[in-house]
């Protein structure tokens, strides 16, 4: 997140980004990519059990958007937004832990302004709008930033949420990461609308397209939208074009995408792009590259070690957060269940 001064950057907000901010952005992107690759490699070795949605190719869109937020703002991500989460301060260890041991996926540090990632497509968009409306009602100047995918734009929840947002001028920025596919369905088969950005028009607020491989571009448009929202001018929809493969670890993209297409997508990689830009600016060199790589390796190692500690399975936690105030009947069921588990030996 950036300083107060930069927030006032308005139209030229991108120029207000200091080289140190961009270095940080590049570091976060590289770290996210390394994490994604590490989890996938662990999964191939059978060490990660559970479905995992990779985000490689979407780092610039996710991190660029998060960098445009202020500390008081709130993030409403989806299952796809691991890069955004790590840039937002979500512990790396949780991302390693959630596919292994405890249900750390639902954990979040108390102070992090983070909604649990949405799994049912578009289900979080009405929440994001309601959250923003509540903030407005309480004169709290926060802005809500929500991510969703191109496929999500076909859900009723998406349209109803946008309608509400437009109607009530909710301070919301909606970022549609268009990675061109919803599992196997290409964007062209998702909707007959010419663009996804124009969906916003129907609901009375602006929709902006941006190249999601370009961190600076994403940052700039999201920054403007966040400011607009904070000044009471209502919601904005932003659609970064991004690349992605594959859908989840339970998915084989070669079933519906050609090798050539996957190769072409890979070439748009946002990481070399920002690296090259910074090198041209004299803000990045081989030494920095090496330092970053070393630090990332170390950070990821530490996170994995911490994840192992998180990953002890205690059957009691199954019952812990079902209710804020567990009814007596529930506690009775819990006790009987745990007793039986103990007596029968914990099943493997």
């Amino acid at each position: 997140m950036l300083t107060e001064e930069k927030m006032k950057g308005g139209k030229g907000a991108d120029t207000a980004l200091q080289p140190s901010d961009l270095e940080r952005a590049l570091y976060l992107m590289k770290r996210a990519r390394a994490l994604d690759e590490r989890v996938l490699s662990l999964q191939r070795q059978g060490k990660v059990i559970g479905t995992y949605a990779p985000f490689s190719g979407q780092e610039a869109a996710q991190i660029g958007a998060v960098m445009a937020m202020e500390s008081n703002d709130w993030l409403f991500p989806t299952y796809r937004d691991g890069a955004a989460l790590t840039a937002f301060g979500y512990p790396l260890s949780y991302l390693f832990a959630f596919p292994t041991g405890v249900d750390a996926r639902w954990k979040r540090p108390e102070k992090l302004h983070l909604w649990p990632p949405a799994i049912s497509i578009a289900s979080h968009l009405p929440h994001a709008v309601g959250f923003a409306m509540a903030a407005q009602f309480r004169h709290d100047p926060l802005v809500v930033l929500a991510f969703c995918g191109d496929g999500a734009t076909s859900e009723g929840d998406f349209h109803e949420a946008l309608n509400l947002a437009g109607l009530f001028h909710a301070p919301v920025v909606l970022v549609i990461e268009n990675n061109g596919y919803a599992i196997s369905l290409p964007r062209s088969r998702q909707t007959a609308s010419a663009t996804l950005a124009q969906k916003a028009e129907a609901y009375g607020f602006p929709g902006v397209q941006v190249d999601g491989h370009d961190l600076l571009a994403v940052y700039t448009v999201v920054r403007r939208a966040v400011e607009r929202a904070r000044q009471g001018e209502g919601p904005t929809l932003i659609k970064p074009e991004v690349s992605l493969c594959p859908h989840t670890t339970a998915d084989d993209p070669t079933k519906y995408r050609s090798k050539e297409e996957l190769e072409a997508e890979r070439k748009k990689d946002p990481l070399p792009r920002l690296t090259q830009y910074l090198r041209e600016q004299g803000a990045w060199d081989d030494t920095k590259e090496q330092q970053a790589t070393d630090r990332i390796v170390e950070e990821l190692h530490r996170a994995e070690r911490e994840a192992v500690k998180l990953a002890e399975a205690d059957p009691r936690v199954i019952f812990d957060n079902v209710y804020a105030h567990p009814p007596k009947t529930f506690l009775a069921q819990r006790n009987a269940f745990l007793r039986e588990l103990r007596e029968g030996g914990a099943p493997s």
Binding site: T51, P99, D103, S123, K255, A313, I318, G344, P347
Partner: protein, 340 residues
């Protein structure tokens, strides 16, 4: 149904596909609609190869708009088509439930019997592969509770085929649940039960009849889908302990074959119901109530239920294993019943 010389070994998913394929060949009114049912072939393999054969006019990939495409399938059914529509995971019923239970299930009634909705809603159910609380439910009871539609959940490949064909030929709306773990997919743990002998020619298996998959005299174990599979494994363990279990595969929730259960309990005098669904207000309670109402005096021990406690299904592997009933837990419970 009799197996013939023309049987081959098929996985659950291939058996389903064959059923749909044969019905599509027979009846031009049959078509398929849903998310990723086209080129992808259904993320749990329910339509693999059909797009290549029938093309995009009869195998329709839809956007992620469950209310729209299930509602549209209802409209098409009313117009005389026989749609098969896939809800990718049963868990997503939430976004389209009005179409399912207020529309699909009630239109026949609310039109005074004038409008038929011959629709098959097929949907993937079940957990055990770490897909978290919103992708791992069966929700058997949620659907079975609602009047106006049949709800079936075949376990084995031959039943998947026969019940799918029966469902397509029904004039009632039918929800056909298939268990992800019993589809025989390469990326899941492959279970022996997910492959079985399936006759080649089209045939139907009546909706509403259970199947005794193992005969026995000491205790009746009632299950459906994955719980039937675990119960059969438990029965092997029980055999070693000298206990002779009878295992009933329900196959259908609505209609529910109460007679077979009552007859079995009259023989074994003990009942264990196993359910991969939440315990309270569920299928296990319905069966327990059936036996309490009509077979109480046959019982020599209290009815026993094994189900998921009333908690969301955990994402983590060990935690999920704690809540799911399995062969060991079933064997333990059955032993306790017999030794009571």
């Amino acid at each position: 149904m009799a197996t013939t010389a023309k049987s081959r070994m098929l996985t659950g998913s291939k058996a389903m596909v064959e059923a749909i394929d044969q019905e599509m060949e027979r009846d031009p009114r049959v078509f398929v609609m849903g998310e990723d049912v086209g080129k992808y072939g259904g993320i749990f393999g329910s339509t693999t190869g059909l797009f290549e054969k029938y093309g995009p006019t009869r195998i329709l990939d839809t956007p992620i708009s469950e209310t729209a495409f299930i509602g549209a399938a209802i409209g098409a059914a009313m117009e005389g088509m026989r749609p098969i529509v896939e809800l990718m995971f049963v868990d997503f019923f939430g976004v389209c439930m009005d179409q399912i239970y207020n529309q699909m299930a009630k239109i026949h009634y609310m039109s005074g019997g004038h409008v038929k909705v011959p629709l098959v809603l097929m949907t993937a159910v079940g957990g055990g592969y770490n897909d978290a609380a919103q992708h791992s439910q069966t929700l058997y009871a949620t659907f079975a509770h609602l009047p106006g539609m049949k709800v079936v959940a075949p376990t084995f490949p031959d039943d998947l085929k026969g019940m799918m064909i029966a469902a397509i030929r029904e004039d009632n709306p039918v929800i056909l649940m298939f268990h992800k773990g019993l589809q025989g997919l390469g990326w899941m743990d492959q279970l022996d039960a997910s492959i079985g002998e399936v006759p080649q020619e089209p045939y139907t298996v009546p909706l509403g009849r259970s199947r005794i998959v193992r005969e026995g005299n000491d205790v009746t174990i009632v299950g459906i889908q994955m719980m039937t599979v675990h119960a059969m494994k438990a029965a092997e363990q029980l055999k070693e302990a000298g206990i002779d279990a009878e295992v009933i595969d329900l196959r259908s929730l609505v209609p529910l074959d109460r007679e077979t259960i009552l007859r079995s309990v009259a023989k074994t005098h003990r009942l264990l119901v196993v359910d991969e669904d939440y315990q309270s207000y569920g299928m296990s309670a319905e069966i327990a109530a059936t036996v309490a109402e009509a077979g109480l005096y046959d019982l020599e021990a209290p009815i026993r239920r094994l189900a998921i406690p009333d908690v969301p299904i955990p994402y983590s592997d060990p935690l999920e294993n704690f809540v799911l009933p399995n062969a060991e837990k079933i064997a333990e419970a059955a032993k306790a019943l017999v030794n009571m």
